[in-house]
């Protein structure tokens, strides 16, 4: 794998507090890194230092080439422009031709269930809807590095599924993903590397135990008035009139009970291939 960014002895001090202390990190093309840690541990600061937006107090970030970063912020700002006006301008800045931009936006609006809100001023939109616009603006053109700062905050479950699909599609195109998040299932769905940020240090976490733990594939058939148990929604894929879920072994019994409670019938179960 080709190294594209190298952090050499990066330190950062905010208000006399050491957030990062001589951190060394190599980032490779196509890698997907999740930065986890408590609130205020320095995850967002890490992302911004990597992008060159924040100057470190010590150390240096070395880029092997000039990289195109796109950024999905934790809180997308409200503004008087509508989503369509904003994205049209972003597309112009990206150099996307008008017709291509319009088609691309139309598809992304539909994917994220935003079609009816594109002409509403963004100051009147909810936090979750704004967050979707924050994601869409980053997807208009393929970047080399995509920074994601708590990308799923405030988003509905269906949009989260779409987001994960889109991110995995970018990974297949060798886009480097750098993400700060708390959600375990997001880390497991998207990341090949997990770095724990805390007490000034950034250390890799071994996720192979989790990755290669035994999993089952469950098939369910929808009954009348069936609904989704929200906590298992990220594991579920719709398949015709039913659905299919890939779940760790230790969660499988509970999931079966919840799905039956929510009006589903278990139709099949098998070991998942790694």
């Amino acid at each position: 794998m080709r190294e594209i960014i190298k952090l050499n002895q990066i330190s950062k001090v905010y208000n006399h507090k050491q957030i990062l202390d001589q951190v060394d990190l190599s980032i490779y093309e196509g890698q997907s890194i999740a930065f986890t840690g408590h609130n205020g541990s320095g995850k967002s600061t890490m992302l911004k230092i990597i992008a060159g937006l924040v100057r470190p107090s010590g150390g240096k970030v070395v880029y092997r080439e000039k990289l195109l970063f796109h950024y999905v912020p934790e809180r997308f700002p409200k503004m008087n422009l509508t989503a369509w006006q904003y994205l049209k301008r972003m597309g112009e800045i990206d150099g996307i031709p008008g017709k291509v931009l319009a088609d691309r936006c139309e598809k992304l609006f539909a994917d994220f269930f935003l079609t009816e809100m594109v002409h509403t001023p963004m100051k009147d939109l909810s936090k979750g809807t704004l967050q979707k616009i924050g994601v869409i603006q980053a997807l208009l053109r393929r970047p080399q590095v995509l920074l994601l700062d708590e990308p799923l905050s405030g988003q509905d479950m269906d949009s989260q599924m779409v987001f994960i699909q889109k991110m995995n599609a970018l990974r297949a195109e060798k886009v480097t993903l750098l993400m700060s998040c708390h959600e375990k299932y997001l880390v497991e769905s998207l990341s090949d590397t997990v770095m724990a940020v805390g007490h000034g240090q950034v250390n890799e976490v071994d996720i192979t135990a989790g990755l290669f733990a035994k999993e089952y594939i469950l098939w369910f058939e929808r009954q009348e008035n069936a609904s989704w148990p929200e906590e298992y929604r990220p594991y579920i894929q719709i398949a015709g009139k039913g659905c299919r879920a890939r779940i760790p072994e230790h969660e499988s019994s509970r999931m079966i009970v919840e799905m039956i409670r929510h009006g589903w019938k278990l139709r099949g179960m098998s070991d998942a291939q790694v």
Binding site: L68, F69, H70, M79, Q85, I93, D94
Partner: protein, 242 residues
Amino acid sequence: MRRFSGLVKYQMQQYFSTSRFAMPFAVLMILLYSIYSSRPVGVVDSLMVSCVFLFLLMVWIGVTACDMEHEVSEQILILRVQSAWKYYSSHACFLFLIGMISSAIAILFPVIMDLCSRGQLFERPLKAADLLYGFPLMSVSAFLGGALGEISHPGLNRNRKTTILFTFLLAVTAVTKAAILKNVPVLAVLLWVVPPISDVTAMFAGESCFSVNKCSTAFIILLISGMIWTVVKIMGLKKKGF
């Protein structure tokens, strides 16, 4: 070039989607009316007073344009265009265009007033040369004002109140510099950093016509000063980061 123009268009659209131009525009109209309501007025004098008003107006607009900036949208755009210089330069360009719009209003106003008063507004007939010299001078005065207003960018100083007070103090000092130095010449040691709007208007004191030499000199002084303030702002923001 396309990216740069895209940035400028975005900022123009952002600005005009708010009502931030309404008050400065209203004040501009009132100021222009106050200059041209009594007649006859000197051509050069009135246009130079307009330059000063435009300078102050654009300081105001520069400050309110900085208020409009959001850290996150700045970050998104700087990464998108892969250059903080490009982004902040586009902001300066956007303010320059606002200045030109304001200058166009300021140069057309006396023309319309003169037509309405059947050529009796000025001490002498208004010539095309007056407009050709006046408009660029107004535009660079406005540019200088906008550049000064930009130093109130929240990225340079988080204390908004202090920053705005300081900016307006600088602006007022710039306008009254000649009078201050007449009474306290030793302050020249400090006041050389202040925008030279007062020095430029003093160059045209008592003149009945614009001359090429003076106008060129004034234009260059104001342009370079505006560019210096712009560069100072950009370098300050780049150094500080987010």
